[in-house]
Symmetry: C2
Subunit: 317 residues, 2 copies
């Protein structure tokens, strides 16, 4: 029998990412055993029902015993408590990794909490959907998606390679970068877009002169696109903004500066500036599509557009 990459993997937190990871590990036979733990008893029940892992542990301490890999899939603010509680019970030479979306602050907060016999190798799979919780998970989530590793100075190259192999085995492409660079790249590609989406949906919800019903009714004219990422998990996102504060504040500053310039162009009816800005943004989407990072189907290939077309086809029959 071929030796598996890990003997026993503990998955701490069984939300969208933890449950998808567990299912992917099982499906791709990466470990002999997967143990799962969630603080919430209803999530533990769901994990049993959905058969997410081989064993659902009733405590954090029990869940990590005997594991050679522990992966933390919980909101960033929970890391210190989890690490403090599990550290005395970790097997010597085991690897701890995570899936968190902000690196530098988190690494500074927690890397001192481990014993010298433990490797903490921070990772971030750039994968997810707007849904959350154990029922949202599916084993294909990581296929063709990037996973960024931000190794620490004291990480053994062989351990880093093991984590690299792990993510590749689940279908991901792996990139290595510094925590600082990771946080800046994510601030613009992920964190600012989420903040802006949350903000515009909130602005619309507050508008007393246009009814909520009208906002829902006419949302297909643009607004609805923002509501998808603005329905992402609130606790996870609260923590991301707190743990990537500096880079996020810089990006808000740049965004606001650009918005003021655009606002001025609208106020002064500066049609040349408006046309120039609106023309260059189209090219960005073309690049994203040709890089295979989004569908080229109209309207994201939304299923109700497809339904509409088949409806009229059926009418004609």
């Amino acid at each position: 029998m071929k030796k598996k990459l890990f003997n026993q993997i503990s998955v701490i937190g069984l939300g969208l990412i933890g449950s998808s990871f567990s299912l992917a590990i099982k499906k791709n036979k990466i470990a002999n055993k997967v143990v799962g733990y969630s603080r919430s008893s209803s999530t533990r029940k769901a994990a049993k029902k959905l058969n997410l892992v081989d064993t659902v542990a009733n405590s954090l301490v029990k869940s990590v015993k005997g594991s050679d890999l522990i992966i933390i899939c919980t909101p960033l603010s929970t890391y210190p408590k989890i690490i403090n509680e599990m550290t005395p019970h970790l097997e010597k030479n085991s690897i701890v990794t995570d899936v968190g979306s902000a690196k530098l602050t988190t690494i500074n907060e927690v890397s001192g909490l481990f014993s010298k016999f433990i490797q903490f190798i921070p990772a971030h799979p750039i994968a997810g959907t707007e849904q959350s919780g154990p029922y949202a998970g599916f084993p294909e989530l990581f296929i063709d998606r990037w996973c960024i590793l931000t190794p620490l100075k004291n990480n053994k190259p062989s351990s880093v390679n093991k984590i690299k192999t792990l993510w590749k085995s689940l279908g991901s492409k792996v990139e290595i970068m510094s925590p600082e660079r990771h946080d800046r790249v994510m601030a613009i590609t992920s964190h600012l877009p989420h903040l802006i989406a949350y903000n515009i949906v909130s602005t619309a919800a507050d508008l007393e002169t246009v009814t909520k019903q009208e906002i829902i009714k006419y949302s297909a004219s643009g607004f609805r696109d923002f509501t998808r990422i603005a329905s992402s998990d609130p606790v996870m996102w609260r923590d991301i903004f707190l743990k990537n504060k500096d880079a996020v504040l810089e990006m808000i500053g740049r965004f606001s500066e650009d918005l003021s310039a655009l606002q001025k162009a609208v106020r002064w009816e500066d049609s040349k500036t408006l046309h120039k800005i609106f023309s260059r943004t189209r090219k960005v989407r073309e690049k994203i599509i040709s890089a295979g990072q989004d569908t080229d189907a109209v309207d994201f290939g939304r299923s109700n557009t497809r339904k509409k077309i088949s409806k009229i086809k059926n009418r004609k029959k």
Copy 2:
């Protein structure tokens, strides 16, 4: 033979909306004849090739002769020139309508240009995709979408009803409101979302410390959602912002105010405020989905997510 709603319809402008409208009129047999006109000779050629209309006219004046309905499907800034040029050649008692996304300023600009024998009945189908031009059109575009009419005081109720019947015949649901209300509703549901999308894509494109390649590569983490509407037609959108200036400026003001509050919450690590804002926005999406205004499929049902899932399924075989 059943009498058709119109004898001859002239479609001025054969981009996404004009071409979709023409195809829908033909498909649903709303008129005996559809005449199309575009200022651009390449669009006229495409219209012939795609069989968008029964006759492609070589001049605006020729295109309107003998028509009982003329529909303007060009950017808002072109209206005064088009109306001045065609008015002497319009048939007595014909109806002129449009598909423009901003109403009040446009109505004030053009309603005085018509002779008293012509009914100008402003309309706005809330339909479109991020694509533009004659090749982007398809006859099902208006099905199950709203069309807002903003009739003028001197419009005959029978003529307004005819336009209402027209849009219903193409599959749309029709709403009647004042130009002022239309412009406010669209400012929040459509114009502000487009401006914000254009702005964030522009901010990202300018960022000198993160490479363009990285922005493309990691765009699936949130950014790509904004690039769809930021790739909409630049001329059309330039004109919308200029013609709905007041309502758009008000919405930018509210958005910026909310963003400053959110920025402050990030800076001061006010986790309660962040959690509160991020929790309420999720409910808005739930309402949009239950109103049938967006798909409930994860990730908008993006086709590359579907492909991914089928890819892994094929692997397993």
